[in-house]
Symmetry: C3
Subunit: 209 residues, 3 copies
């Protein structure tokens, strides 16, 4: 999930990426707890929410080894988080502001999507497929989370724009790429587009027909 970002960009982005993973894992954690799953279920759902999108993208593009297979720090981090967070679940929900979760999730969505699109560009995929890979990376963790929790995926139900923000963010990234903007510029503008659109969508109740 990070080759491109690591090599092309600063450590700041790496830190933000860890935040994205943690935020996505927390959203899995919360949904699994609400379904009254036990520790194993909570860990699995948190893990799949954080890494499902990137893993599906890598399987579709045949990239190996998978990100989390190479870096066992990530699964161990989520494992530790789940064990530590379980006893404090109620307090945790109360402590974290909903707004903070929405911002962090929007940032994670931007990072994951643009990173997925840039990996597809590196693999010489056609443009529309690059955008799809970006969106898949951004949203499929949540889709798998909802499928396991026996719900119709949240991103497919009518609600505030979500996948659409990733779609437009990845499009901006690809256009910037096509115009030979520097890689950092392309990546940052893609991430910012996704982030800002998502925050606006929540703020102004925007949704698709």
């Amino acid at each position: 999930m990070s080759t491109v970002l690591h090599s092309g960009m600063s450590n700041a982005l790496h830190a933000v990426e860890v935040i994205g993973v943690v935020v996505f894992a927390i959203s899995g954690f919360v949904e699994a707890r609400q379904k009254k799953m036990d520790l194993v279920g909570v860990f699995t759902v948190a893990f799949i929410t954080a890494f499902g999108g990137g893993t599906l993208r890598d399987i579709l593009l045949d990239r190996r080894p998978l990100f989390w297979v190479e870096h066992q720090e990530y699964p161990i981090l989520i494992f530790a988080l789940v064990i530590c967070a379980t006893p404090f679940f109620r307090h945790l929900r109360a402590a974290v502001a909903d707004k903070a979760i929405i911002y962090a999730d929007a940032l994670g969505l931007g990072l994951f999507s643009v990173n997925g699109a840039s990996l597809a560009v590196e693999a010489h995929m056609p443009a529309f497929v690059c955008i799809m890979m970006g969106v898949i990376t951004g949203i499929f963790g949540g889709v798998l989370r909802d499928m396991i929790c026996n719900e119709i995926p949240l991103v497919f139900r009518r609600g505030h724009l979500y996948a659409t923000c990733a779609f437009l963010g990845c499009s901006v990234f690809l256009i910037a790429n096509f115009l030979h903007a520097g890689q950092s510029v392309a990546i940052l503008s893609g991430i910012l587009t996704t982030l800002v659109l998502r925050v606006l969508a929540v703020r102004f109740n925007m949704s698709l027909p």
Copy 2:
């Protein structure tokens, strides 16, 4: 989904294949609309219904690049269809005769299944696995559609024969292949068997125990 058909057979089959993709996509479109999904959900479900079976087969056989990754026309076609069809959904349902959908779907099932089986033959799989790959290609798009829409997959519930038609069609294809019939003959007899069995199954209410 088309290498074999393209090289071995005429353009007519290619046209029919596009029809198969479109029919499968429409069945995803209809189910997603009934679940009140938004545009993103409808596109995703339509796409997965059309390409899910072939994608799963390619992942299991480790064939890359995936068909729709190489030919971005297909995802773009479905994207355009979904955007154009959404405003006319009600009229669309009324305009297309149920019978036409059943015929087109039976044709799509035959094409996808026999094509899947012939790709497995090319990859030197054992006979029973070739038949399974054919059936997977034909039915798994619908299975994934139903899993995302939070339903028990239609093809597994008691109803008119469906997967069984694909199973027998692929068996006919493999037997014809084994007897060294020409490839066109083998493919056509497989597709026809599936198509005719499926239409008969609907016509005479045939189902499995």
Copy 3:
């Protein structure tokens, strides 16, 4: 699912492995029948329960050809089982003691998990990922079974320890491996740990928070 066991160990283990496959297939068979699926659905669910975990592991590790693709005896065996067992379903349930199923399933869990972990060790994965691959091999067949049958996966709901037994069994296997115990010793201690823990968990109603 068997390369390591075959080469490193005796035919006895191979026989036990077939039992594991059959037990897992039966659990899929029973759940699919309870959902009133037809023959195709019952076969698919039985098959996915038996091979889903190993297939997912092989896709994640990029191992090909898949076990059941190479050995068509296994899908044919399950196909024959399903056809033979369908008419006798009611009698079958009465004839097989629940206790026997729990023991056989615990044995299957141990075999599948430790075999999955040992394949990951062979592929030079980091330790925590090896344990995860073991647990995935052991439990994901059942997870996919429950997802297709439109249930929240049994192993994630609160109940007797299940995945945890596989987790600890794989840990014992890895520790034995790390201490350079012979391979047979490591494998057997891993399987035994899983089996004994699982039987104790059912016997003494042990569960996770």
